[in-house]
Symmetry: C2
Subunit: 167 residues, 2 copies
DNA sequence: ACTTATTAGTTAGCTAGCTAATTAGTTTGC
DNA sequence: GCAAACTAATTAGCTAGCTAACTAATAAGT
């Protein structure tokens, strides 16, 4: 996602407000701030994961596999849980496969299916990343009091539930 | 950005908490919620823009150009303001050029430089999109009271300022 | 003035997302 | 029991981001 570095100043907002009189400047600034903080945090997470040779997409796949009792799942199921298309999941699995973090196992009962299994290398990678990830998330979030956090989540949820105004 | 559809449930969190005892479950859930709402809203905006043949990257470029007095700027300056690499900006400009929404004009004083100019077609495209965009942003944000908005922005700013814990 | 450093833009090759089309295997319905 | 419908995964080709390397032009230093 693109992050607009240069949020508009008053002069610019006035130019736009003149041409587009229905604009609610406050609302727009708040909206842009939310998009930007989300994208900044996502970038920061990506940079953190890059230090371990991972990126968000591949990392989520490893986590989803670790959630499973037998450390296995199918590409379709992973795609659905991760919220990406099956085509994208094929690509993520390709990358993880090349690095030996997962393996493809063909399903004996239904030969259309694959089982994707977390390898011990993959588990070791998670064991390396996760403690540090949790430590940093805690440190990040601890600038908010629990009241502030609750209020933040409540506002975010309201916005998310209202997001179909854009459809 | 990938959006994890399947936020972890208690059973899963316990499995992870057992293996990684330092995890602060609350903090992680809040962090993931923030990432996900940001990415959802970004997607919703993309889908809206797709209806006009645009996407966020290209749309921001048009807006940045419209901000300029003479509707012109250089690729480097646009890249910096948009927060993308110059290579990415080259790609965005290629796309906009093909559709006639901007034009490349070589600088007579410094022949390394280009000026990118919003065409009248580009301005017309913005005039088509912006009023509806502003209307929908207002509608989206109006679910929050002004106190809630202020609190949201304040919390987001705190998190953003604290995001270097990840570096 | 001429070498060196800097700046501007592009290109190449990578990741990661998408849709649409394809291939292969399984189910269903008559 | 075979054709049609469906499901699973992949492939192809697109957008949009990145870094690194390259070309060309200008600026700076001696």
């Amino acid at each position: 996602m693109l992050q607009l570095q240069d949020l508009p100043d008053t002069k610019i907002l006035n130019k736009f407000a003149h041409r587009y009189p229905d604009a609610n400047i406050e609302h727009v600034l708040h909206f842009l701030t939310l998009l930007r903080v989300g994208s900044d945090l996502s970038d920061v997470l990506d940079r953190f994961l890059t230090g371990y040779g991972l990126l968000q997409g591949r990392w989520w796949v490893l986590i989803l596999l670790m959630r499973e009792q037998d450390l296995m799942s199918t590409p379709s199921s992973l795609a659905e849980k991760a919220g990406v298309s099956r085509a994208t999941m094929t690509g993520l699995i390709d990358g993880l496969d090349k690095e030996g973090l997962i393996m493809r196992v063909t399903d004996v009962n239904d030969r259309r299916k694959l089982q994707i299994k977390l390898t011990s290398t993959g588990q070791a990678k998670l064991d390396e990343v996760m403690p540090e990830y949790y430590r940093r998330v805690s440190e990040l979030m601890s600038v908010l009091s629990s009241e502030q956090s609750e209020s933040l989540i409540s506002s975010l949820t309201k916005l998310q539930n209202n997001s179909d105004v854009f459809k």
